[in-house]
Symmetry: C2
């Protein structure tokens, strides 16, 4: 008996999806992911933000105990309500799904080089101070509720791939998604995988869907085994403790830009 | 008489602001900007998205003529409704403000390394295909409704500046904001200025507000005279027409990452 066999318990995956049209490519890819992951023995839950009529904007309603006549300081209000277990019910439910999950997949169309507003609103509202980050969640943040969970961006891109390549006019997709990959996932201690992208999605011929789905399927098959993007650790000594700047001389000569933050 | 004197007609500025708390730093900076610009003789309008209860998510309600039983293809629906002048009233009103404006200021707190969801929803919904970009808006897009207008991001950042510097752990602010500076402004033909940022905004002492406002004031004074960020032109021959990739050898040796797209 091989005592080093990988853990075989079913893993739990939360898919958060954001498109107003149930017959969209985004919806089809989300459905495909659910089937593929369940066929592999995983448990899957889905937060379909449009179907849920997800409220996008943080406001005082997120914090039922917040006195109406008091200035709303968002981080402080999030922290207090999170500690007290007094967040709005829709937020609390999403946080419970995140606690349950071993991996999170965000499925969305690239709108204006980022997530649709409703998905940004899920990030803004659910990943509260005190839950996903903050002083109760010690650096490198990986001890927070999300620490160690795997995270995958699965994105449909209307334009052609070359425009998002190393020298593409829109910038490399990895750089455009850095605020999510590093800003959201790394910051909350999650292990970000390379994004999965379907390009040319504005007019994807029916016959190309199968190929796109199969490529997606291979990525989903590796959801728990792929090597994550090797972002540096904040507590690994690479960054100054006070200034949070990368120490000089750690990068390979010639590395600049966002690539500095890769080991 | 100097016939080469700069044009002195009052310029028109639209400020779009997004914070749930009217007593926030964001609101104070927006109020300051209104006063400063008006004192300089400019006309100013404000879209206070929280006060307007701005709906963030694109959905079929954006397109009143869209048949309920038909698949919603977002770009096509935006294009059709824009051409027909049949967009939802809240969108149409924001587009009218944009047509009116000579410059646009987006005033917001940096939440999860990007704009708050409600402001992303303003971008998603207002900058429709056929209005801000698209085949009726020929490349380099600068002939669109927004072409040539000036654009300034004015952002409050909770953390310290060093974490957003060239080697900062969160990535340089210019790179984090590239999806807005280049993805939104450049793509729609606007002239993006360097962002204005107030750091440490989570706990800005009262006595430092005056200094932050004065620094902001100097930027606002240059709103119509500052040199914009020198992004390359799409029609200038720097990019391939089909692949939209930057031609080899145009950059200064050693330039990599998003800096490639600067002249």
């Amino acid at each position: 008996m091989n005592t080093h066999a990988p853990q075989q318990r079913p893993q739990r995956v939360l898919i958060v999806t954001a498109h107003p049209e149930p017959r969209s490519l985004t919806a089809a890819l989300a459905d495909f992911a659910v089937d593929r992951l369940r066929a592999a023995g995983h448990e899957v839950r889905v937060s379909d933000l449009y179907a849920m009529k997800w409220h996008a904007a943080i406001d005082a309603d997120d914090f039922p105990d917040h006195p109406a006549d008091t200035r709303l300081e968002v981080l402080a209000a999030q922290g207090g309500a999170t500690r007290a277990g007094r967040l709005a019910a829709d937020l609390a439910e999403e946080q419970e799904k995140l606690r349950w999950a071993d991996a999170v997949v965000l499925q969305f169309p690239l709108w204006w080089f980022s997530v649709p507003a409703v998905l940004k609103g899920w990030i803004d509202r659910v990943l509260t101070f005190g839950f996903a980050h903050g002083p109760d969640v010690p650096p490198p943040y990986s001890e927070g509720a999300l620490g160690g969970k795997r995270a995958l961006l699965a994105v449909s891109v209307g334009a052609r791939e070359s425009a998002f390549s190393d020298r593409g006019a829109h910038g490399p997709l990895a750089d455009l998604l850095f605020p999510l990959q590093h800003g959201v996932f790394w910051f909350t201690g999650m292990a970000a995988l390379e994004p999965f992208a379907v390009y040319g999605s504005a007019s994807l011929p029916e016959e190309e869907f199968a190929a796109a789905a199969e490529a997606y399927g291979r990525r989903l098959d590796g959801l728990f085994t792929e090597q994550p993007v090797p972002f540096r650790r904040l507590d690994g000594g690479d960054y100054g403790r006070t200034d949070m700047r990368l120490r000089e001389g750690l990068e390979r000569p010639g590395t600049t830009g966002l690539g500095l933050h890769l080991r």
